[in-house]
């Protein structure tokens, strides 16, 4: 069924309907596996635009497809688990925005750092985390990425330089500048990708961070994921200038079709080279979230269903890659096979996560300070207090 839609979608878009973002193919029939794709031209601010012809191949596209579809299924599973009350509290879903992260990861390495806001499920997986540990974290189980102590908004991966989900809108932005300085000081050829939304783009501390990063030429890439709604407020209602790529003023900016993984990959590779040589750069990813801001937001009170449906049919990042693959001779059955495998992987992970354990109670105090510092927990009996055991074998 999905395949059918994709095919008709492709047919209907084969004309000018996709406009500038239409992905046209060159040289795909040649013996070389390299595929050249024209992406939507970049809009730029105080910088020369990179070429909008992106090279790729079937293998890379297949990997993109797999990763993005995995992200999509994960978020749909999280939605279902939330509605079934296996996940409680706050939960912000990434579906619709998959191409942004996938494109970023394609252009950087795990030695580059990423720090983001609370919409952080997919970063965990793109940075090498398992779906089981994600699902377990969402359910507050000790098998989770943060041992069940962080939850949806707080997922991290020290080994692979994922500085995590941060709960306060925009508060991760100056941190990203600091992380970038650490890279620079160590003389590493790495950048820090700081992700934030169009809502956070109006925060004062963003400008403090941009100023410092600019002053000190830090290898920092500030990625504004413009999904057009800061919570329930449309960008134009919240920002005098919603051209977020220009809002760095003296810092160059580039606006990218964030629904096109190839456009993102190409632009981030360009930005990384620029940032390492010159200093910070702002990227605005024009993207869209299908879900509401969080689980308490149905996502339909401040925008129309037609708008959401139009996005899904015209600009969906996964469908776009699927079309490219099919146009390059990939057997639809192969994609179906991937779909099936991913779906099974996610479903299995959910089931496995459900079997996880609730963290022991004395973890209430763990990680507050490096040492327990005299923490005490009231027991069941009156006046019964326990000093929590701080297991020295606990690995952070």
């Amino acid at each position: 069924m999905a395949l059918q839609v994709a095919i008709t979608g492709l047919k209907s878009q084969s004309g000018s309907q996709l406009g500038l973002s239409m992905a046209r193919l060159f040289a795909s029939a040649a013996a070389s596996p390299s595929i050249k794709v024209e992406v939507m031209p970049y809009k730029v601010h105080r910088i020369e635009a990179p070429s909008n012809v992106v090279e790729t191949n079937v293998e890379e596209l297949t990997n993109f497809y797999k990763l993005m579809y995995k992200m999509r299924r994960m978020e749909i599973a999280a939605d279902m688990m939330y509605k079934a009350k296996f996940i409680r509290g706050f939960c912000h879903l990434y579906d619709g925005q998959e191409a942004v992260l996938t494109g970023i990861e394609a252009a950087i390495t795990l030695k580059d750092s990423i720090i983001t806001s609370y919409r952080d499920h997919c970063q965990h997986v793109s940075r090498g985390g398992s779906i089981v540990s994600l699902m377990a974290e969402l359910m507050g189980k000790q098998e989770g990425a943060t041992k069940g102590l962080g939850g949806s908004m707080h997922i991290y991966n020290r080994k692979n330089n994922f500085y995590g989900g941060n709960g306060i809108v925009g508060a991760q932005i100056p941190l990203g500048a600091g992380i970038a300085l650490a890279h620079k000081y160590k003389g590493e050829p790495h950048v820090c990708i700081t992700m934030y939304g169009d809502g956070a783009a109006n925060q004062g501390q963003k400008y403090e961070a941009l100023n410092m990063a600019g002053l000190w030429n830090l290898p920092a890439i500030f990625v504004c994921e413009n999904n057009h709604y800061g919570m329930g407020t449309a960008e134009w209602r919240a920002a005098k200038s919603p051209n977020f790529y220009t809002r760095g003023d003296y810092i160059p900016g580039i606006k990218v079709d964030g629904m096109d993984v190839l456009a993102v990959k190409n632009a981030v590779a360009f930005a990384k080279a620029y940032a390492l040589a010159n200093g910070p750069i702002v990227m605005e990813m024009d993207t869209y979230r299908y879900h509401g801001h969080s689980m308490s937001d149905p996502g339909s009170t401040y925008r129309t269903r037609d708008e959401i449906n139009a996005m899904r049919t015209e600009r969906d990042p996964i469908e776009r890659v699927k079309r490219l693959l099919l146009n390059n001779g990939v057997d639809p059955a192969d994609l179906k096979k991937i779909d099936k495998e991913v779906k099974k992987e996610v479903d299995d992970a959910v089931e496995q996560a459900k079997q996880g354990q609730i963290p022991p109670l004395h973890w209430l105090w763990r990680n507050m300070y490096a040492e327990p510092l005299g923490a005490g927990m009231r027991g069941v009996l009156p006046a019964e207090y326990h000093v929590p055991a701080f297991d020295p074998t606990y690995k952070s």
Binding site: S113, I115, G144, A145, T146, K147, G148, L149, G150, H154, Y156, N157, R158, Y163, G164, N166, G167, I168, A171, Q172, I173, P174, L175, G176, A177, G178, I179, A180, L181, A182, H183, Y185, C192, G204, Q205, E208, A209, N211, M212, L215, W216, R366, N367, M368, Y369, A370, E371, L373, G374, Y394, K395, S396
Partner: protein
């Protein structure tokens, strides 16, 4: 309407005036060299010690921190020029602009930047020029720094972060250059809050703070930068965080304070010694976590407590000390724990002596406790 002045009911006017006069005198005397942390200029420094004021002691500590770890940075508004208080003089020349640098006037950005740097495994010593300016960075400290280890299940922490901020009354600072905001931060599990009371203390505590595996907010009583001078041990040493200092032994009452208020308590103890009252003076040094055991052991011995700080009395850290002592030492108490603190007003300009909990008010409170 006069501001409320701490313990007891409305003071009558005469008492108030005399309190103000005594406080003024005490303040002036501490400025002119009678303070207890004031080394005698005629005698040479102790062997292995250098005579330093608190500002130079801080400078010395920063120098050692930068020397002993090449991933340590010192930054803040104007620090590369030496800072407004001259605490960072000479550091740029010695360690280079990569590690000692000026920041824009953006406190939230400075602290956020420092947290990022510390989280990446480096040691960040950020200066907020005045503690009064720390509030734009409040969110970063409370929500990012304090909770990084906790919310990441131990993946990350920003223990490498130390935020230095000069605090407290200085005689003429007015509303925005005199405040003591320590209690805002003691309310945040995950942060350590430190306030030294002398040059030697400042050096040892600052080095311990910089190397602490937890983020530290380090308040420096700015009046003592120049007025407090003592023989400070040379070289690298640390004083333990979370351990109080017994300043003077006594048997009748326990006086607890921190920062420059310890001097006021010492002066009050001297004054009261003349009346035959023996005061035990405790310098808390670290407010979060604070040394409950030492304070409670002392109060269990003396049976009385006066806790004193410059910050306004309501919601100040003195309330925490008083409440804990009331609970832990209830059967040993001879009188209710008393607080002698700043008034519940904004920090005033010309009324500063009226606002401050001076020697006379501390002595009054002690007499009140003894007469209970």
């Amino acid at each position: 309407m006069l501001p409320c002045l701490g313990p007891g009911a409305q003071p009558n006017l005469q008492r108030l005036i005399s309190a103000v006069q005594t406080t003024f005198a005490a303040r002036l005397s501490s400025l002119s060299g009678a303070a207890l942390v004031q080394a005698d200029a005629a005698t040479p420094a102790l062997p292995g010690h250098t005579r330093l004021n608190l500002c130079n002691a801080v400078n010395d500590a920063l120098k050692i921190a930068l020397e002993s770890n090449d991933r340590t940075y010192v930054f803040g508004e104007d620090v590369s020029f030496g800072g407004v208080f001259r605490c960072t003089v000479g550091l740029l020349e010695r360690f280079g602009k990569e590690r000692v640098f000026n920041t824009p006037l953006s406190e939230q950005g400075i602290v956020g930047f420092g947290i990022g740097l510390a989280t990446a495994g480096h040691t960040a010593v950020a200066e907020i020029q005045f503690a009064d300016y720390i509030f734009p960075a409040f969110d970063q400290l409370v929500n990012e720094a304090a909770k990084y280890r906790y919310r990441s299940g131990g993946h990350f922490h920003c223990g490498g972060l130390t935020v230095r901020a000069p605090c407290g009354a200085v005689g003429h600072g007015g509303h925005y250059h005199s405040q003591s905001p320590e209690s805002f931060f003691t309310h945040v599990p995950g942060l350590r809050v430190v306030m030294p009371s002398s040059p030697a203390e400042a050096k040892g505590l600052l080095l311990a703070s910089i190397r602490s595996p937890d983020p530290v907010v380090f308040f420096e009583p700015k009046m003592m930068y120049r007025t407090a001078v003592e023989d400070v041990p040379e070289g690298d040493y640390m004083l333990p965080l979370g351990v109080a200092r017994l300043v003077a032994e006594g048997s009748d009452i326990t006086l607890v304070g921190w920062g420059q208020q310890v001097l006021v308590l010492q002066q009050a103890a001297q004054l009261l010694a003349g009346e035959g009252v023996s005061c035990e003076v405790i310098d808390l040094r670290t407010l979060a976590p604070w040394d409950v055991e030492s304070v409670c052991a002392s109060v269990s011995k003396t049976g009385r407590l006066v806790v004193s700080h410059e910050a306004p009395v309501t919601g100040g850290f003195g309330a925490e000390v008083a409440a804990t002592v009331a609970q832990r030492c209830f059967t040993r108490l001879e009188s209710p724990p008393l607080r002698v603190c700043g008034a519940d007003t904004p920090f005033p300009l010309v009324f500063e002596p009226l606002y401050l909990p001076g020697v006379a008010r501390v002595a009054d409170a002690v007499r009140q406790a003894l007469d209970f």
